[in-house]
């Protein structure tokens, strides 16, 4: 065991709906490093409905790479490490797999407690199937019918500030209790109450005997204060319980992790929040994860985390839902070649049937990346509504300043060249000013978040290692200029080379200057009048030290917001050109 670190070997498992990942970290030269990772199909669905098989297959892959024995003869995790070098010191687990938790939200005031609860519900794996509030004009009996027909796994009740409204909250609770008692005992929903704290005892008295209720701190203790963190923990437990009822194997991971197993989204949010405390406080940190069954957007501003889990947007089973919010032409606009709407539609439905498949043909790859752009664009649009107002730009079109942007998800991580991922992120996120794109190719972020409680140094060490891939520094000038007009001039001095790069970038151009990973350079930017590159206002010049990346320095002067050509042929031509410019296509 190392002298500085309390633990040496950490095994992390993340159970997703499509893939189960296992990652083994160990100490090398006093620092934690990712030693091996394994990935296997998840076995969460029928006929197995047991995650254990997928977990064991992922662990087998780690064993095959490292030769390290992780499980004993009875298939139990060896912990702590034995004198023979088998097993691990610490085990952490996260999971996003499992059936969606059908939830009815019952609140008092729209715009106050109900809005807080909606934000809470949208930050985790809930399937909101009904909302009831005080201004709801339906009769009580209709509300009871709504709850019954929704067949919820969970009813989230909020309302009243601490010491505030009592009677109205008690009426809501009475309604929920009457409806819940009509379910057969094994189908009764769990109730999570996160309203006026003073009513906890009265509520427990009313529903406690026959119903399963969890009392959580008020999500809206006062009109000015919102506290979602504690209620999220109570929801996490309810989600885990609903999941464990229908899928086997989670209890074993829970046991191995010593009861610290987390929801993937919560662990992911924890890492992004941590990073926001390390990086420039003037900017936020953004994490985006395009998964198979949901898309996570985590933005944190000096520790203030805004987490969104879009459970209806993903590159797998929910893919057809994308068409409710977007259109086939919106997807086709990102493609560099002509593709019929029928082809796109068939692809969407086939991918929803077989979400684990990978695009072997180039047309399929480009189509998946186009779908990822739309998913990410929509998810971000929704998520930004929940970001702090003072951090968002006045224009609803422009992204506030965030750095870095950490991206994950198979579609980005598996892209054959880093330029594919970088262009998809540029198109979907449309960052402004100066930022850095970082790819999490192994999907380590949730595991780091889960381990941060017991092994705080893991996150720091792994982020500093090569396990996260920097795609490069991105400069996105903002301002009005005619197409082809100069927007900025740049001077790049590489630290390990005497050859400087001097040039200018014109409106509409996507320029890339390769700077290898591990190299550093001094970048001076002189924007034209009216053009803002993030140095404090339009026309302001500045200099900064930048690090290299898999793509290099990217200057995206295509405009903010990015307006694509209306003519389809011209648009396709430009999409192709940008793929070449960014090095995705050679």
């Amino acid at each position: 065991m190392s002298s500085i670190l309390d633990t040496d070997t950490i095994l992390a498992v993340d159970v997703g709906s499509v893939s189960t990942r296992a990652s083994l970290f160990d100490v090398v030269d006093g620092h934690f490093r990712l030693i091996a990772s394994g990935r296997a199909p998840s076995t969460v669905k029928a006929p197995l409905s047991d995650i254990s098989e997928g977990v064991r297959m992922a662990l087998d892959q780690v064993k095959a790479v490292t030769g390290r024995k992780l499980l004993d003869e009875t298939d139990l995790l060896i912990m702590p490490v034995t004198s023979g070098g088998s097993g691990v010191d610490t085990f952490v687990a996260t999971a996003s797999a499992g059936p969606k938790v059908r939830t009815v939200l019952v609140g008092l005031m729209p715009g106050v407690s109900t809005d807080s609860a909606l934000r809470l519900a949208e930050s985790t794996y809930l399937d909101l199937v009904g909302v009831i509030d005080l201004l709801d004009t339906r009769r009580e009996s209709e509300k009871i019918d709504l709850i019954l027909s929704a067949r919820p796994d969970l009813i989230l009740v909020v309302g009243g500030t601490d010491g505030g409204a009592q009677d109205s909250v008690l009426q809501l609770i009475e309604l929920v209790a009457v409806a819940s008692e009509l379910f057969s005992p094994n189908q009764r929903p769990r109730i999570v109450y996160a309203g006026n704290r003073n009513l906890g005892a009265a509520i427990a008295d009313r529903v406690g005997e026959h119903l399963d209720i969890a009392l959580a701190p008020n999500v809206r203790p006062s009109l000015q204060v919102e506290d979602l963190g504690h209620a999220r923990l109570a929801l996490g437990e309810a989600i885990a319980e609903a999941r464990n009822k229908r899928v086997h194997g989670f209890d074993e991971l829970e046991q191995w992790s010593g009861g610290t197993m987390m929801l993937t989204a919560d662990a992911y949010g924890r890492v992004i929040r941590y990073l926001s405390r390390i990086y420039d406080p003037a900017k936020g940190v953004l994490g985006v994860d395009v998964g198979a069954t949901n898309t996570m957007i985590a933005a944190a501003f000096e520790g203030d985390l805004r987490l969104s889990v879009e459970t209806d947007l993903g590159l797998g089973e929910p893919l057809p839902t994308l068409l409710r919010h977007s259109s086939l032409s919106n997807i086709a606009r990102w493609l560099p070649s002509e593709t019929s709407e029928r082809t796109i539609l068939d692809y969407i439905y086939n991918k929803s049937i077989n979400p684990a498949t990978v695009p072997a043909e180039e047309e399929d790859l480009l189509l998946e990346l186009a779908l990822a752009r739309e998913i990410l664009r929509l998810s971000l649009k929704r998520a930004r509504k929940r970001w702090p107002k003072d951090r968002d730009l006045k224009s609803t079109w422009l992204m506030p300043s965030v750095e870095p942007i950490i991206a994950s998800g198979s579609v980005l991580a598996r892209a054959p060249r880093p330029g594919y991922a970088a262009l998809a992120l540029l198109d979907a996120i449309q960052p402004t000013g100066i930022t850095t794109f970082v790819l999490d190719p192994h999907g380590l972020s949730p595991s780091l978040g889960a381990a941060s409680g017991s092994v705080p140094m893991l996150t720091v060490h792994v982020l500093e290692s090569g396990s996260f891939v920097s795609l490069g520094t991105v400069v996105s000038p903002v301002g009005n200029a005619r197409m082809g007009r100069k927007v900025l001039s740049l001077h790049l001095e590489l630290e390990k080379s005497s050859e400087d790069v001097v040039g200018e970038v014109r409106m509409g151009q996507l320029a890339v200057v390769p700077i290898r990973q591990g190299e550093h350079a001094h970048l001076t930017l002189r924007p034209e009048r009216g053009i803002d590159v993030g140095f404090g206002g339009p026309g302001k010049a500045g200099a900064l030290r930048i690090a290299g990346g898999a793509v290099g320095l990217i200057i995206d002067a295509r405009g903010r917001p990015l307006v694509l050509a209306k003519d389809p042929a011209r648009r396709r031509e430009l999409n192709k050109k940008w793929l070449i410019d960014i090095g995705a296509v050679v």
């Binding site: 669905k45 029928a46 067949r151 068939d346 439905y349 077989n354 498949t357 180039e362």
Partner: protein
Amino acid sequence: MTHVIPITVIRRERVLPVPGAVLVRVNERLQAADVVAEAEIDPKHYYLDVARGLGISVKDAGRYITCQKGDRVETGDVLAGPAGVPRRTVRTPASGRIVGINNGRILLESFGKVLQIKAGFPGKVISSDGAQAVTIEAIGTLIQGVWGNGLQNYGVMRLVGDGPSSRLQTDQLDVNLRGAVLVAGICDHPAPFHQATELSVRGVILGGMPSELIPVARRLPYPVLLTEGFGEHPINAAAFNLFVSNVGREVAVDAGCAWPQPGQRPEAIIPQPSSRQVSHPDRVVSLKPGVRVRVLKPPYQGEVAVVKEILKRVETYPSGIRAKSAMIEIDGVGTKTVPLANIEILQ
């Protein structure tokens, strides 16, 4: 893993969404159309305020309530009162039963719709919880698909066209196919579906159809089952051979798992007589040389093949992606390398 098995033990659970009544006994032999369980679903509720109705205080309301929890009542029956000089009463707005009395309020549940669950295929009841779930077992041919339009039915199977990629066309559909379950390769137009409706067919099994026909398929009165997916995909060779060898036999089509699939795959079951020992399908099969697989993505989508080797090295594909791969032998095509993620085991 997809099951395409000539003969196996098929065991399926039929579960009501809410507790109700199981109508069959263990060891009872069933036909496909037999109702095995039923329950009342989506009943309407009336939350009657007795105090307000009688014009009295909540505290006094209890004294005037004349019904009890569990009582069955008819429309107009008096539930509370009379009270006061005007001799006010509270009457039932609908027939139903009293499911709750609390704080001077009566909760009345009117009768809902009756949901019936059918066996779906001929078999024997092997277990039941008496209220919500029944397990049925049969021996037969099992062919699992990938998508269904949400319905199930049972009928004699007929082949339309001359191969796994033949198109279902209106001129092939005549009165000889009335009441049959049709098997064809592809349907790319709504007209054959509508003509099949005219013929009262009991189901259509296809390899593929364009996804733009999903809304049409969901409105049809008979089950539509796809074995491969969306687009012009013929029925895979293994499944097609089983359909061909069973033409004229009865087939149960369970296309009850419309997207998103809740777990159980849509499937076709062809009951078979068997006196010999028949095994259950494997729940887990390891991917290794000799295992039969089906390709899920272009360029060999829908082809049935045999794994020759699981490659140790990662392969690069035309898209540029690198993936763990297998070498497979496709009948009539030869040996090809495909990503492991793009094949599934066909048992």
